[in-house]
Symmetry: C2
Subunit: 443 residues, 2 copies
């Protein structure tokens, strides 16, 4: 039972200066400082437990998301946690449909990132109060309770509450076996750590060698800024991993539609499984055109990390605009909205391969994809979860990778909690790390 009245909600701007090492660099985001608007939720319950929620950002602008969290706070403060999770759909809609605030969204961009951070904290707190890892809490909720967390507004033309319940009900069979499978083998992952756009060829080779030694069999390379560079780097990585292992490419929205088709025709020789974010994340019809053009080359289209809500995902599925769907734990309205996307993907038979990396994204999304396997898709075919090997040391319950697979988290909560000293040290602009860096830059 969820318990306690929310007495405090704080949001903190925490930034890691990843741009100094070109970690995370791609064709559109050349110098990201992986950051988070970090939410802490406190109640008056005697257990003293706190909920932590993150949303992911790239440095500048994190203060804007923090500001939006504060704007949403009146909808959370003084609420009973029991009332919140007892009418989770109503609470979700309160956050996303405030009559005044929705104008600056709705359900997109800054306010939606802020909504995600708050809701992630609520789920974390609830799981902690139940003493369960969040994925376990989720997997063993009954179908009707799970469906009651979803706002079906604007998606009822493709997924009704009844259909959602049916999908979940159907998968009740075999859940124990799939849970056992996860506990022993884990959920398959791929690595993006080897081939950020800003890395030198030498560094790429070294990281690739290490990853192969570590048992990785699926690799993603950033492309899209310069064709000659791409040909060289893709050739290099394909040579190193051999013809059997899986290679994915990621353009991070760099191209227009015709350009995406031309560019990928050139890179097809390196046999990518998918091209990720070939164009604007808003361009459903564009992704559909690219999908049609690349199908004869055996290249699928993947997208989702910047799809701003379930309405966009609904249309990507309706238009057959993607062959791999990439949910993000922090861009959508937390678990509530991701549940609806997992269920729609199941209905359309499209595999979900989550976006991760950033800061904390692996920690969060592992719960969602393990739930997807156990309770929704019941399949690992064509499925894998992104993994990036950095910033885990700042989390109290970091991910556990074994033989290139995510092992299910066991600690209570949503793995969102950061170490107190990390939050303090990397707080922007007053943490030690930033005071020194900004002083060095003369700021």
């Amino acid at each position: 039972m969820a318990r306690g009245r929310v007495t405090r909600l704080t949001a903190c701007d925490v930034r890691f200066p990843t741009s100094l090492g070109a970690h995370g660099s791609d064709a559109m985001h050349t110098d990201p400082d992986y950051s988070t608007a970090y939410v802490t939720l406190e109640t008056d319950a005697e257990d003293g437990l706190k909920g932590y929620g993150i949303t992911f950002t790239l440095g500048k602008g994190t203060e804007v998301v923090v500001c939006a969290v504060n704007a949403l706070a009146p909808h959370v403060l003084n609420k009973d946690l029991g009332d919140i999770v007892g009418d989770f759909r109503g609470f979700y809609r309160q956050l996303t449909s405030d009559s005044q605030l929705r104008w600056i969204g709705p359900e997109k961009g800054v306010v939606h990132l802020a909504t995600a951070a708050i809701l992630n904290a609520v789920w974390d707190l609830w799981a902690k109060q139940e003493g369960k890892a969040f994925c376990t809490l989720l997997c063993w909720q009954d179908p009707r309770t799970l469906s009651s967390c979803i706002d079906f507004r604007y998606i009822s033309d493709v997924l009704t509450e009844e259909e959602a319940c049916e999908i979940l009900q159907k998968n009740q069979a075999g859940k124990k076996e799939r849970e056992a499978q996860m506990l022993t083998q884990g959920y398959p992952a791929y690595t993006t750590s080897c081939a950020w756009l800003g890395y030198s060829d030498d560094r790429l080779k070294q990281l690739c060698t290490e990853a192969l030694k570590g048992g990785w069999t699926r690799f993603k390379v950033k492309v899209g800024a310069d064709m000659q560079d791409d040909v060289r780097r893709c050739g290099l990585i394909r040579d190193m991993i051999g013809p059997e292992k899986t290679l994915m490419m990621d353009a991070n929205q760099r191209w227009d539609v015709p350009e995406a088709v031309e560019w990928m025709a050139r890179l097809a020789e390196f046999k990518p499984l998918w091209i990720e974010e070939p164009t604007s994340p808003d361009d459903i019809l564009g992704h559909a055109a690219i999908s049609r053009a690349l199908a004869p080359l055996g290249i699928g289209v993947a997208t989702g990390e910047q799809c701003h809500n379930r309405v966009i995902f609904k249309q990507l599925l309706q238009a057959r605009a993607l062959q791999f769907l990439q949910i993000d734990s922090c861009r959508l309205g937390s678990v509530n909205e991701n549940l609806s996307v997992l269920l729609m993907a199941k209905k359309f038979g499209i595999p979900v391969c989550p976006h991760a990396g950033g800061v904390g994204l692996c920690e969060l999304v592992q719960h969602l994809i393990i739930f997807d396997f156990i309770s929704v898709s019941a399949s690992l075919e064509n499925r894998m979860c992104e993994y990036v090997d950095h910033l885990h040391e700042h989390f109290k319950y970091p991910v556990l990778i074994q033989k290139a697979c995510y092992l299910p988290p066991k600690d209570a909560g949503y793995s969102t909690e950061m170490k107190e000293e990390s939050v303090k040290k990397y707080q922007y602009p007053d943490g030690d790390v930033w005071r020194k860096l900004l002083a060095a830059q003369g700021k």
Copy 2:
């Protein structure tokens, strides 16, 4: 020639307590306080001229947009105005594609509203320096200069720079005549002032009577919250205006797709020209389905005030999802992005009927629609601009309506400048008006 280096950029949270009178109320926004993040741009030029830019909000959350303006400020400060307008596409892209900030958009929601406010101020300042009404400045720019303001990224599959130039070039003929026509007759408008959802039937009747006396022939009514209410109100207004005058309906995103079709089938007897925002502004395929279903009833679909960028408009046009396109002067990336939308609409043969009202939206968008007539569409067929009769008294150069038409603005600038005393009085939370209101609410 644009001149001066930007020395100061400030953003101010100005809110009008319109919710006290239910002005602006609709099925999704029940108690809006019409507000603006108000930007002032100063340079070191000797002329002492300032640029003013607004973006429209509904009260809460305006502080988040102000925060975003401040986050974008480093891209503006210390820039030469000549360099900005000399490479307007580059400047636009700098604001919208900052490698770190774009993550919290991109080109949508809070950051895009902030971008609009800044760019609106730049256009205002440029027009003031030229000593021209902004629409005049725009109409008499040569096609190549105008096209160079547009970022064609993500829309080149339907509109290239060459095509944009061609459309503008073709309309060079007849511009003088169309300008003269505007000066004498003005641009046709419709009124939304009579039938906000929160108004009583008596009030609706009274306002309708006054509007008819004032020469109005086109009326919009808010619908979508309650079917019985809608039937009564639509019947009432249709009776008052008679069968010949034009009636539009606006659901402000209240419905899911099947619900929209059913609801409008019931309201079809009142012969609406269009149903506006029947569902989520993100649902391109949903709008297309509604358009197909309502076409046999003679009802068109209108949308746009919450379409967050040119990529969404591109798809609405590609999917034949709307029959009336409603640009907004403050949600898109100002004039630069609206230019691309006007040109795409022209290419697809879809009439543009701008969204206005709010605070300042009429003042701004009149420039864009007059430009559209003179330089792009060259037609008034099926075209009209929204008008709402409030808050104009706070502007230094308020709109001029004559016989239900917008008369072209003559003062230099983009009509964005507010009266100093209004800004001071309505500043949130420290202006006189708010100090009193908040004190009365015990806040």
